[in-house]
């Protein structure tokens, strides 16, 4: 786990959440720029997962490995899942789902960070 990546994911995710909330209130459906934002977020989470996997393969083990891996997997799945949701719902509520997902993501990365290094709690 690289701290810089976690912080970047959190900031990017919150920015995307605010943007999507603005779109929701302005009654706009999901558009391509939203998707690009989600894609960037997805790449960041994939990067985080790859780094964590490499470190785990190198012998570093978080306290609760099973929980850690399931959190990591969920975090990687969230961006594509909310993008699919945005495609289904061609109204203001598409960005609303993405905004919700982008608010969960930082919370989950905090939890991931805590599992990786319990000293941080």
């Amino acid at each position: 786990m690289v701290d810089g990546v976690t912080a970047t994911i959190q900031i990017a995710s919150l920015i995307l959440a605010v943007w999507c909330l603005v779109s929701t209130f302005r009654d706009q459906p999901m558009v391509v720029p939203h998707l690009v934002g989600v894609a960037v977020l997805w790449l960041l989470t994939i990067g985080q997962a790859v780094v964590a996997t490499v470190q785990m393969a190198g012998g570093e083990r978080p306290a609760e490995t099973a929980t850690f891996i399931s959190y990591l997997a969920t975090i990687v799945l969230i961006p594509p899942a909310c993008a699919v949701w945005g495609f289904w719902e061609r109204s203001r509520w598409g960005p609303a789902v993405i905004a919700f997902a982008c608010l969960i993501l930082p919370v989950m990365t905090v939890r991931l960070e805590q599992l990786w290094d319990p000293a941080l709690v």
Binding site: T67, T74, W93, A96, F100, I104
Partner: protein, 158 residues
Amino acid sequence: MSETKSRTGPGRVLIAVYAVFALAATARATVQILTRFDEAPLAYLLSAFAGVVYIVATVGIARTGETSHRVAAVACTVELLGVLIVGALSMVSPATFPDDTVWSRFGSGYLFIPLVLPVLGLLWLRHLARLGRRPVSPARPRPASETHAPNGARPGTR
């Protein structure tokens, strides 16, 4: 009407939130029960139960039809009671719940979403029920025979 509306608009957001909660609560409980059930059996069983209720509510809201929505309403009510009762118990006697559940301290570990979610769910279901009852187009006058048919057709009475 209610058949199509439950999966669109705000309903879709609600389903997304519910789905995440169902996943989170069930996955957490599964890990806890498999790895350290002895530490806090009551708390972990409660988490598992909460997870199942969230799954039922998610499916109930996502599915169409009155029966599904009634099931979802029951699930939401159970959630609301659960978060209130367990929340209160966990404040009064923390020893009963050595480890946190989704509902402990009124869901404070989950940003109080467990407290808000069932209320939103019930409001949404009520909204759907009203949509279903309301006629789609502006009131069309019905033929008089249709409106009175059920009462007039009772057999054996004069």
